[in-house]
Each structure stands twice: as C-alpha cells, then as structure tokens.
Symmetry: C2
Subunit: 301 residues, 2 copies
DNA sequence: ACCGCCCACAACCGCCGGTTATGCCCTCTG
DNA sequence: CAGAGGGCATAACCGGCGGTTGTGGGCGGT
C-alpha cells in the first residue's frame, strides 16, 4: 500500500469527489483517476462505486477508513514534529497555556519578562489540555501552563502554586468584613448561580461539588467560559464559582470569597523531561510563580 | 515526508546498518544510501551520524522514532486488513481463542462440527486478549472465544456460559462426599498451593481474592499456565485455582471442587457487530455453548 | 436541448527510484 | 604493518512511475 493511495483515498473521502481530491493534493484530475485505479488494482477490490458519474465509497472502503484516517493523522503529527525538531534553540520561549490563564496571569508575566529579556521573542499559544499535550510532545511549544492535572507519559508537570476556588458575587452581596472568610459550600444552597459548563477537569469537579448541595443552587444561565460568568455575575445574575485567577483579574466590579475546599486548584507547569529548561525558561517560570502567588495572596486576604 | 523515507528509517534502526536495511527492503545498498540522503535533505537535519564508517542515530532521529514506529505498525495493520477484506465469504469459519480453551473445549467443538459440515474448512488461532481483538478487527478471524471480559469498541461480546473457579487437588485430598460442595475461599488459608502468574484478567482476579486470605496460602511454585498447574497439583504439589475447563479436561488424576465465588468466570464469544453470523458460525457457537454447559454441569455436580 | 460537472482514457514526458561498478574509510587480523 | 573485509558514498545509467494536457462520454440541472 503506497502512501500515495492512502492520501488519495483520504482526500476523496474528505472532499467527496475525485476532482476535489485532485485539487486538494495539487495534482490534475486524470492523475488522481489513474492513481485511484492503480490503488484498486493493487488492493484487488474496488474502493468506490461509479454510480451516476459520481464516486461512492464501497463497504470495504469504509472498513478501511478508520485506519487510513489514523495514518494520515500520524503522518501529520510526524510532519509537525520534524518541522519543530529542526531548530534546537532558535525559539527560546514558546509557551502554551489554557485560555483562562492567557487572559489573566500570563500577559503580566510576559510583560515583566520582556523588561529583563528585551531581545527574547515569545510565542504564546492558548490550548486546552489535549492539544497542549500534543503541542508539547511535538515540540511546537516548550512550556505548558494549566490548572488541570495533565498526567501524561512523556511529560512532567511541576506544581507552581495552589489556590482556592473563588465564589464571585455582585458588589454588596456580602458584608465587607466577611470577604476574607471562606464560604462553606453548603452556603450555596438555594442561591441563584451562573452555571459553568466548561468541559474540563475543573468544570467537572465544580459540578460534582455543587451536585451535593441541597437544595441545589438555582442556575438559569449556563456559560462556557469563566470570563462570561464574571460578566453575568457583575450584572447581578447571581453567584458563580471560578478559578482564582479569573476572579482576581476580572475587570468587572465583583465581590469574591474563597470557597471552603482545601487547596483544590493548582497551577502547574508542564514540559518535556528531556532537555532541561534554559535560563529564560526558568526565569519565566519563576515569574509565573511569583505573580501567581501574589495574586492568590491578594485574593485570599 | 515520503513513506519511502519512513520505511528506510525504520529499517535502518531495526537492522542497525544501511546495508541491512537495504536487504530488508529488497533494494540495493546505494539506493538506500541515496534515499537516506534525500530524507535528510528533505528534513533539513541529519538522521544519522557517520561515525567510523557506521551509522549512528542522531538525537533528533531518536525523537522521531516512536512516531515512525507507530506509522509502520499502522501500515502493517492496514496491510493485514486490506488483505483480509478481499475475501468476503471465502473462509466460513475462522476462530481465535485463548490457549486454555484451545486445549480443552474447542477441539471437541470442531470435531463435532466437522461431522455436520465435513466440507467446511476451519482455521483456529490461539491468541491472548489484545492480539485477539486485533485479529477480529482486522478480519483475520471472525469469532473469538475467551474467558475474559473483552470490552472493545467495535466488537460485541456474547456470554455463552458461566461457571465457577475450580480448586484442584491431588487425588484423595478431600473425602469424596465433599467434592460437590463449594469450597469457601477461607478454607485455602495456610494451604500449600501452586501460584498462577498468568497475566490476564482472571489471573489478576485470583491473585486479588487470594490476597485477602489469612494466613496466606503457601505457594512455593509459580507457573504461567493452568495446564502446568494441573500437572504439578497431580504430583502432590498442593492445591491450585484454575478455570473450570482446564480442570475438567485435564488428563491428570485430580480432585476438584468449585470455589465459593458466585459465577465469576464466563465463556464469551466475541465478534464484529457488522455482518451477522452465518449458518456455520451460529452452529459453531451453539456447539460451544452446549459442550461448555455439559462440561460445567459435570464439573459442578 | 444545452451547459456544466465529473470521471475515464490517450499520448507524452521528466524525474524519481532503482540498478551496477567503483572508491574510500575504518576495523580486524595474522 | 600490510592485507582483507565490511560499510558507506559516488558515479553513470535506465525504466517506469507520476505527473501533464487534451479529449470524450455519462449524468443532472436549467
């Protein structure tokens, strides 16, 4: 089975037509036609039925589809890896972090780092867990920052800072003297809340804890991002549970109190175990730790 | 990245030399040399260092190795699948089962089936769980028989018959009148036993149950197969826990009693959900069920 | 009925991937 | 230390694979 055939097969199934596949592969339509016939000849069974002048995948072709897709994906990954493997030390700082951190902590860190290393170029990606792992493994980025546990063989994670889930509320919700006191989760019973449906480990954890509260909090609005929850809370939509970085960095007028759950959100750095971090990278992580601890200390106080 | 290069890279890392790789790929050594240079040219960094006239993989090359190996494996799988996809109904009965079943139940089933379908050719493979899944998914075989749970997306499993773990002992170990009575697991405390280290779900389950017994059974000998355990038990080595098929079909002089654990070993048929089973195949499964139930009834009585 | 889309076939051609022949370097050995 | 041998690189050569353009036929929509 030549790779040519696999690419062609994949392209035809992607575009739905042979000419489309030919365009995708940057070859002419007759070349694709001939290649497809060769592939079928080689395999011994037809891959597509020619029905009414169109190509329609055979049953056998559909059986091979998953494998073909996997191979194409692997090839793509290899491509990415080999492209990133070339430059060993050209990009001193390539960071990928979750959207939440990209909107709160990381800009300050990069700004501060830029004053010390003005000539260092920084690449910042925002990705969720799975693509973050890929990006690190394929050497598209060197350091990942996340609030989730990212156990992954081939990557090490280093806890930088721990904090509490924060309950945010419209201004004046609580007496000011209470703001430093952790709020027991039972106090959320029956309260109006903004639901968080973000599909990550922390989102699930929050859902799990809220499910135990009786009577259940009343959530009329469900949002996908913590930022959006901040905005809605500030407009009087109710309470919400967010990570401490979002809570502290939000531009909205908000009250916030830590939720009484011991140390349940941890900022972690993730990177490849080979090739120890260089000067800029370690300095970057130092700044992340410092600023994060500063933020969380403020938030907790 | 051409597939050619990937194959070559894999071959060089497999054989350790370029000429070896060339032989493996059935091409001449200069062709391999040229291809390797093209690959390195294309990638932009050397894959192998030429040190003292030999090839030595670069650090970068080793980074790509896992991906390359995965791609080669995928290609091999695709090859197998496409080879088996060709013949839709040529092999009416291709069965894969675990070694235990191949030595006990299946021969009788095949013999019986041969009397009804004398012209049907049967292919029997013996494989452990993971290769069994592969074999079924790649259509190298049509029906799998196993005593383990084989949950696998893309395959369905059908329970055929349930039975008990059996305790086997040298002749005369128990009074004959006790043989039908299930033995409580606590009765194994402090007994001499043959340990089973077979690495499958049932082996782990047995280990788990035995670990709870106090004082722990005394196992001086550990074996990898149930058959071997039978032989050692028959020679007075102590007791052993085996699946009911091995116990019942062993040629050794043995006593056996069911272990008091409710219905903890299940004979299952596994096959692809598409393409319903044909006549021979359903008849085969009928016979498996009948003979298995007969065996287990005998064993339990 | 016509046009447009899509696929198949034909004829042609450049270059990729193979070959054989040969040379260099290193290692091992008597 | 000289010679043998294994391993890789280079050179010169060649066939066919993989591409092109040009064309024709089947089908559907207007």
């Amino acid at each position: 089975m030549r790779l040519r055939y696999i690419e062609l097969f994949h392209a035809v199934l992607s575009t739905g037509s042979l000419t489309g596949a030919a365009n995708l592969l940057n070859i002419s339509q007759p070349a694709a036609s001939k290649a497809l016939q060769q592939a079928e000849n080689h395999l011994g069974f037809p891959l597509f039925g020619r029905v009414r002048g169109r190509l329609q995948p055979t049953q056998q072709a559909l059986l091979m589809r998953h494998h073909i897709d996997r191979i194409m994906r692997e090839m793509y990954d290899l491509q990415r890896l080999s492209a990133n493997i070339t430059r060993p030390e050209s990009h001193p700082l390539r960071v990928t972090c979750t959207p939440t951190l990209a909107q709160t902590l990381v800009p300050d860190v990069i700004a501060r780092l830029g004053k010390v290393y003005p000539d260092t170029s920084v690449e910042l990606f925002t990705q969720h867990s799975a693509p973050m792992c890929e990006s690190l493994m394929l050497r598209e980025s060197d350091i990942g920052l996340t609030l989730q546990d990212m156990s992954h063989h081939g990557l090490v994670q280093q806890p930088l800072c721990g904090g509490n889930i924060m309950v945010i509320a419209p201004p004046g919700w609580w007496p000011d003297r209470d703001l430093a006191r952790p709020l027991p989760i039972a106090a959320l019973a029956g309260q109006p809340m903004i639901g968080i449906t973000v599909q990550d480990a922390m989102g699930n954890m929050l859902q799990g804890h809220l499910a135990k509260v009786d009577p259940a909090p009343r959530a009329h609005v469900w949002v996908q991002t913590y930022q959006l929850a901040c905005s809605l809370v500030a407009r009087g939509g109710g309470l919400a549970l967010v990570d401490p970085f979002t809570a502290r960095c939000s531009r909205e007028p908000l009250q916030m109190r830590p939720l009484k759950l011991q140390l349940d959100v941890t900022l972690r750095a993730v990177y490849r175990p080979d090739s120890p971090l260089n000067g800029v990278q370690t300095r970057f992580l130092d700044y992340v730790r410092e600023l994060a601890q500063g933020l969380l200390a403020n938030a907790g106080a």
